[in-house]
């Protein structure tokens, strides 16, 4: 049943030009950053050779590309997640799903996974971009893996949050503005906190991604990402179920 929902969501996504436009945009921006970093690397390469234990191409090029991709995905998620439930409610199609023999959990998970699948395609594109460096040198696969894993967990968080905000309203635009606001807030939260002294930065999604970005796979960060995702999925299910119970 989840497969049917995923299939329908991806179908709806790819028959609109929005998904293709966003894919092109992400690819263009990450390729641009990739080339700029490559240029910089080639310029400083002679100096790098003189220091002991110099940073490799993965550190100089791949990590910044992933950081930019993370910020881009933060901006783009609300555009894709806004319609998931808000549009169904606005167009009265949610009734079709609710009267069909599928559970609310299936509906929510199907919608969530469809978004994660779409973003996985984006991640694959970014990884392939980085793989092109193999033509001129050796890659640090550990660092690449840590970045990929981090980005994947990060988009799962973005998607779950976007889906929840979308379940709160019948206006897709309000859902987009709402989730963008919350995501930006969660990004900037560690600026409100001076350095590492406080506890507030634990809530910053991009702070946790920063560790993956440097090649540090921290179980605390993994746990935070998974907890964050599960929490918002459960909240979404409860929200839809509450509508059935309380009208």
């Amino acid at each position: 049943m989840i497969a049917t929902i995923i299939r329908k969501e991806l179908h709806m996504l790819f028959i609109s030009p929005l998904a293709w436009l966003l894919l092109a945009l992400i690819q263009a921006v990450s390729a641009w950053v990739f080339l700029v970093r490559l240029d910089a690397f080639l310029e400083i390469q002679p100096q790098l050779l003189q220091i002991a234990n110099p940073p490799g191409i993965t550190e100089v090029i791949v990590s910044p590309v992933f950081m930019i991709a993370a910020v881009l995905l933060l901006m783009i998620t609300p555009l894709l997640s806004m319609r998931l439930l808000a549009e169904e409610r606005r167009d009265h199609t949610l009734t079709l799903l609710m009267s069909a023999p599928v559970s609310i959990a299936d509906i929510v998970l199907g919608k969530f996974l469809s978004l994660v699948l779409f973003f996985s395609a984006v991640i694959v594109l970014v990884v392939m971009l980085c793989f092109s460096l193999r033509t001129g040198g050796a890659l640090d696969y550990g660092l690449l893996l840590s970045n990929t894993l981090g980005l994947f967990l990060l988009v799962a968080c973005f998607s779950a949050l976007g889906l929840y905000v979308s379940s709160l309203t019948a206006q897709p635009v309000i859902a987009a503005a709402g989730s963008l606001g919350v995501l930006l807030g969660l990004w900037l939260i560690d600026l409100a906190n001076d350095a590492t002294a406080g506890w507030l930065h634990y809530f910053s999604l991009l702070k946790h991604f920063g560790y993956f970005n440097q090649g540090l796979i921290d179980t605390f960060s993994i746990a935070y990402f998974i907890l964050f995702t599960v929490t918002f999925l459960v909240l979404t299910i409860r929200r839809l179920d509450g509508e059935r119970l309380h009208g």
Binding site: T4, R7, T95, L97, M98, P101, S103
Partner: protein, 242 residues
């Protein structure tokens, strides 16, 4: 299961629905036999749509029980809902999809067997007069064809209980007649609940009439009995709801 309940496709007992302190529906009992068409009448705000939403699992009743083909809707919602087809007041259409894509999704959603899905789509398009519109976008169809697509969605999986909320709104007289014929045809092997404001439609199509007013059923009689007593439906409606 006793003989009395064996023929019932839908049975709702003592349904209540409260919104905070407002009681929208109270003490509604509904029983539907296989092959029966039930007309649900009532002025706007009488609680018809709330009742239909409860029967289709879109809204949980505050009190009471609903069984579809003997399966409790609240305890086993998935099994119960697979015997159900529902056309809400506003047809639930994805306007970016074509008729074929939409019906395919509806069929998959209602777990129509993979092998018979193609035949089911062909059959339902023929029944609803959509044969030549399979590739058209739902958003570009006229109101009448959109309504047909909505009905097609509700019957693609051959449900035992079909619930239609004002299916003929916005249709021209020819289309209305076609839809009535379709409902008659559907009632040969399913039960149908028809909610409408058009009294002549009820007298034409339905076997039994339930009239709702202020959240409860105030009149429940078969059309044949009504005719035997020589009563006029419009008179009954005005008497009981004013």
């Amino acid at each position: 299961m006793t003989d009395e309940t064996a023929g019932l496709t839908l049975s709702a007992r003592d349904l209540w629905r409260k919104y905070d302190h407002f009681v929208a529906v109270h003490e509604v009992n509904l029983q539907l036999k296989r092959g029966e068409v039930l007309g649900l009448l009532g002025p706007n705000g009488a609680g018809k749509s709330t009742t239909l939403r409860m029967l289709t699992g879109n809204l949980a009743p505050s009190h009471g029980s609903i069984a579809i083909c003997g399966i409790d809707l609240l305890e086993k919602p998935r099994e119960a809902k697979s015997h159900l087809g529902f056309l809400p007041e506003i047809p639930p259409l994805y306007l970016d999809m074509t008729v074929d894509e939409y019906l395919l999704f509806a069929a998959r959603l209602h777990q129509v067997n993979k092998k018979s899905i193609k035949a089911a789509l062909h059959d339902v398009k023929q029944r609803c007069g959509l044969e030549h519109h399979g590739g058209d976008l739902l958003g570009t169809l006229s109101k009448g064809y959109q309504q047909r697509a909505g009905i097609a969605q509700a019957i693609v999986h051959h449900p035992d209980v079909i619930i239609l909320d004002e299916p003929t709104v916005g249709l021209d007289p020819n289309q209305m007649r076609e839809i009535r014929e379709l409902i008659r045809e559907l009632s040969t092997d399913s039960s149908v609940i028809l909610s409408t404001h058009i009294l002549s439609e009820v007298e034409n199509v339905c076997d039994r009439i339930q009239l709702m007013h202020k959240g409860s059923v105030v009149f429940d009689q078969t059309v044949a009995d009504l005719h035997r007593q020589g009563r006029n439906l419009e008179m009954v409606f005005t008497q009981l709801t004013q």
